[in-house]
Symmetry: C2
Subunit: 199 residues, 2 copies
């Protein structure tokens, strides 16, 4: 149904790419954008394009960063003895909000999911293994989401990590099963960190 | 709280300008945008900027259009005897979806609201009066929203339009089709009762 003018239709189509945004919401967004001045709108699009250009991945842990290393990897006060493995940067940010963890991270960039064609080679698993071998790592804390794929990935990593002689732990089930770590509250996340168990 | 990298913070700030979007949703949107390829992202921002550039206002009724006149004003099959006055283009679109109205429109661009500093001079009221004087208008249907401001605007327009010798009507108030009377608010029910029709 193309009841809209073509340029509006194209705006709506693009805005519908945002997660959870359907045609109605996209239309509401389009009208808000159209009501902005050209200058305001340019600030809007420039911020987005600049973000894409300037935000890179830490070459060590794949966290977001602006230079070579992220603020966590670049922080001498953080212990290199622990690496917390997360699915994505949003989980990393949630962990940081607990202010309870002083080690490093490793962002996998997803979880194993054969159905979606995500095998180990699509995740930053090889890089994790190299880090564990080369760095002073003593413990790898696996903080993948408590979902089927997250669990499978945790098991897979455990098998690869154990032979390297590091302690492998998993966040405790303080986080409700089936939920998304990104939205867990600080206290629950902190409890889960405290109660981590040997795998 | 600036826990984010500056470029991400700027993206989130801009995305928070979308209606009903808070920090969490804006962050979710930002990550989705960052996960797109540069080309996809350019399509996204180009569609928005192009929309702003190409979508103009009909010089007659202020509906959205690409040229001088909108598709409604340019349609010879539409009757010029009726003008339906709406607050904004989205209401116009809702009216068009009924496929029940064959007259023209006039988009006010808002409603009178002294608190927000919106007086008659900020709305397309003068243009409406000129149209009624110059065109073959016989009836003006006022379809502002059933809010305090919408009512005030309707009253104000009625006073200005009556001396011009046109019929001035207002959309009927009543219970929405499919609604449960049990949950209808008192004012709506009272209005529906007042406006009852012979069967």
């Amino acid at each position: 149904m193309s009841e809209y003018l073509l340029p509006l239709e194209l705006m709506v189509e693009q805005l519908e790419r945002l997660p959870g945004v359907g045609r109605k919401t996209a239309t509401k967004y389009a009208f808000t954008l159209l009501s902005m001045t050209t200058e305001e709108l340019e600030n809007f699009t420039t911020a987005i394009l600049d973000g894409k250009k300037k935000i890179l991945n830490c070459r060590k842990c794949f966290n977001l960063c602006e230079g070579e290393l992220c603020t966590v990897c670049g922080d001498a006060a953080r212990s290199g003895e622990q690496i917390c493995v997360v699915e994505d940067v949003r989980t990393l940010m949630a962990m940081e909000r607990t202010r309870n963890y002083k080690g490093l991270y490793h962002v996998l960039g997803g979880v194993l999911s054969p159905i979606d064609g995500v095998g180990p080679e699509k995740l930053h698993i090889a890089e994790l293994l190299s880090r564990v071998k080369e760095e002073e790592t003593r413990e790898v804390i696996i903080a993948t989401n408590p979902t089927v794929e997250g669990e499978t990935t945790a098991m897979y990593l455990t098998k690869l990590l154990h032979p390297l002689g590091v302690r492998v732990t998993r966040l405790a089930y303080g986080v409700p099963v089936g939920a998304d770590l990104e939205y867990a509250d600080e206290i629950t996340l902190a409890r889960a960190l405290d109660g981590r168990r040997e795998l």
